[in-house]
């Protein structure tokens, strides 16, 4: 292992020290490679991608490759370059046995898991997951990898655009909940897949909602710091329209929370409420515009009443004069 300077235990300690130094900030903040190191990672990754990509299937770099097997082991270079792990070397996770091909027999067992690097976050997430509806009963247990592809995953706070976040996150849930085959693979015996459309028949245009809002919005408790991984049982899910369709929409603390700062900078405080986010009936309200509209309606009402009153008084005055 020439490229590794520290043992696993040592780098673990180093990481802990770094976190303490940075006031317990996240790993992403602590990960600060030099441009040279980044370039080195990129070059190293190109070597792996020379075989593990579509291009390699069309033009194999080596003659005796098992192309059939390789077809199932493709990493999309563009998706990887956009992912949260883009700056990492493949070898950072595929730690040993992959430098040469054919790869080592036990290479797969050496792959780092999420909590090797994200131990602090993973501890919280694992605790939340323990209480999730998916934690017990499943024939095939879920792991982080069931929902997260480390080669593609993009953190919501980097994606920012709600429609992109929604597409990524809902694909995860619908991957099982819209597919009998995948669901059956995990489901307890004899459990058939509840039809997602039937379960949400109370929600008008549910499929439209799922283009603009995430499953986790309604199915997890709110957590101010991260996305909770505790999927609640169905009787605890949000069913109240006004939870989202109102001024204090839960969406601003969840789906839209990564937009807030940037929008306020771009549009100013008053306008960011209406310009930055998708338009959601009841939630998108501009206080200035609403103030003007309400004032005009009140003015119309008061104007008419006043006019009527003066008309009435004037008529009485005229009648009294006629009598005199």
């Amino acid at each position: 292992m020439p490229e590794r300077m520290f043992s696993v235990a040592q780098s673990g300690w180093l990481a802990v020290c770094l976190w303490l130094l940075l006031g317990g900030s996240t790993l992403a903040a602590a990960f600060n490679p030099t441009p040279e190191a980044l370039e080195k990672n990129r070059q190293a990754n190109l070597k792996c991608l020379a075989c593990h990509s579509e291009a390699a299937l069309r033009q194999p770099p080596k003659v005796d490759l098992d192309l059939k097997k390789l077809r199932g082991l493709i990493v999309d270079p563009a998706a990887f370059a956009a992912s949260s792990h883009a700056r990492l070397a493949c070898g950072k996770c595929h730690t040993e046995g992959y430098a040469e091909h054919p790869h080592a027999e036990d290479a797969k067992d050496m792959t780092s898991t999420c909590d090797d690097c994200h131990s602090k976050q993973a501890r919280v997430i694992e605790a939340e997951f323990e209480q999730s509806v998916h934690a017990d009963n499943l024939t095939e247990p879920m792991t982080c990898l069931t929902c997260h592809n480390p080669h593609r995953m993009q953190a919501a706070k980097n994606l920012k655009q709600p429609d992109l976040i929604v597409a990524q996150d809902n694909r995860v849930c619908l991957g099982c909940h819209d597919s009998d085959a995948t669901f059956a693979q995990y489901a307890p015996e004899k459990k058939t897949r509840p039809l997602t459309d039937d379960a949400h028949a109370w929600l008008p245009n549910a499929r439209m909602h799922w283009k603009s809002v995430r499953c986790v919005e309604c199915h997890t408790p709110s957590n101010p710091n991260t996305q909770s991984h505790q999927i609640l049982s169905k009787d605890k899910a949000v069913k109240d329209c006004v939870a989202c369709h109102s001024r204090d929409s839960l969406l601003s603390a969840r789906l839209y929370r990564h937009l807030a700062e940037e929008d306020q900078r771009k549009y100013g405080f008053i306008n960011s409420a209406i310009l930055g986010k998708p338009y959601v009936v009841g939630a998108t309200r501009n206080p200035l515009l609403d103030g003007i509209v309400i004032a005009l309606v009140v003015l119309t009402l008061v104007g008419m009443l006043a006019h009527g009153l003066v008309r009435y008084l004037a008529a009485r005055l005229r009648r009294r004069k006629q009598h005199d």
């Binding site: 109370w202 008008p204 439209m208 329209c241 006004v242 369709h245 109102s246 001024r247 204090d248 209406i274 310009l275 986010k277 998708p278 338009y279 009936v281 009841g282 939630a283 998108t284 309200r285 509209v293 005009l296 309606v297 119309t300 009402l301 104007g303 008419m304 006019h307 009527g308 003066v310 008309r311 004037a314 008529a315 005229r318």
Partner: protein, 205 residues
């Protein structure tokens, strides 16, 4: 004795009251939607959505009827202010509302079979019926099928201009409706024009 003339045929009266009812319903549910929240006591959000969507479609259909019936019957001509002196007559009418009516003056342009709107009415009714209401209806129909709206517009959510247009045009229509009800008390007696819209018969002074 007052003179009675038959002004409004049955179809027009039925249209008028159906239109008024739908706009009232759409106004109440629309307000419930826009100002939705735990402190909104008008109509529950989910119910408001269902009512608003049905009433909205009904209003769109009714509007189609209105346009066709107006064209066929020739009633559309009432909405065209007749030259010359339109501005002068508008001013005379405005002056009457702002001043003359308090002194007990008579309506400067009483309703006749040939012209049941005064010039000011004709212009305002034309704007409301042929400009504002279509804007509200078309934006409402797009709102009902958000996929018709552009995905993005000027870097903003494409539904934003549609929703704003719907909200603002609806607000102006509600303001018009309020003043419309009030101006309806300006007949021979406060109730007489409302009666006219029910019976079709107008009492001239």
């Amino acid at each position: 004795m007052t003179e009675r003339i038959y002004l409004f045929p049955l179809w027009l009266r039925l249209w008028h009251w159906a239109n008024a009812l739908l706009i009232l319903v759409l106004g109440v549910t629309g307000i419930s939607l826009h100002f939705a929240g735990p402190d909104m006591y008008l109509v529950d959000f989910s119910l408001a959505v269902r009512i608003h969507n049905v009433a909205g479609l009904a209003l769109a259909a009714l509007y189609g009827f209105f346009v066709i019936a107006n064209a066929v019957s020739g009633n559309w001509w009432q909405y065209v202010p007749k030259s010359p002196g339109v501005l002068q007559r508008c001013w005379t009418q405005t002056r009457f509302y702002l001043w003359g009516v308090f002194k007990g003056e008579h309506e400067p342009f009483p309703m006749t079979r040939e012209a049941n709107f005064n010039a000011l009415q004709a212009i305002i009714y034309w704007l409301v019926m042929y400009l504002l209401l279509p804007i509200t209806i078309v934006s409402g129909l797009i709102y009902l099928n958000p996929q018709w709206a552009p995905a993005r517009m000027f870097g903003l959510d494409g539904l934003l201009p549609v929703a704003l247009l719907h909200y603002l045009s609806a607000a102006v229509i509600l303001m018009f409706a309020i003043s419309h009800v009030y101006l309806g008390t300006m007949g021979a007696r406060p109730t007489s024009t409302h009666k006219t819209m029910i019976t079709g018969w107008h009492e001239a002074e």
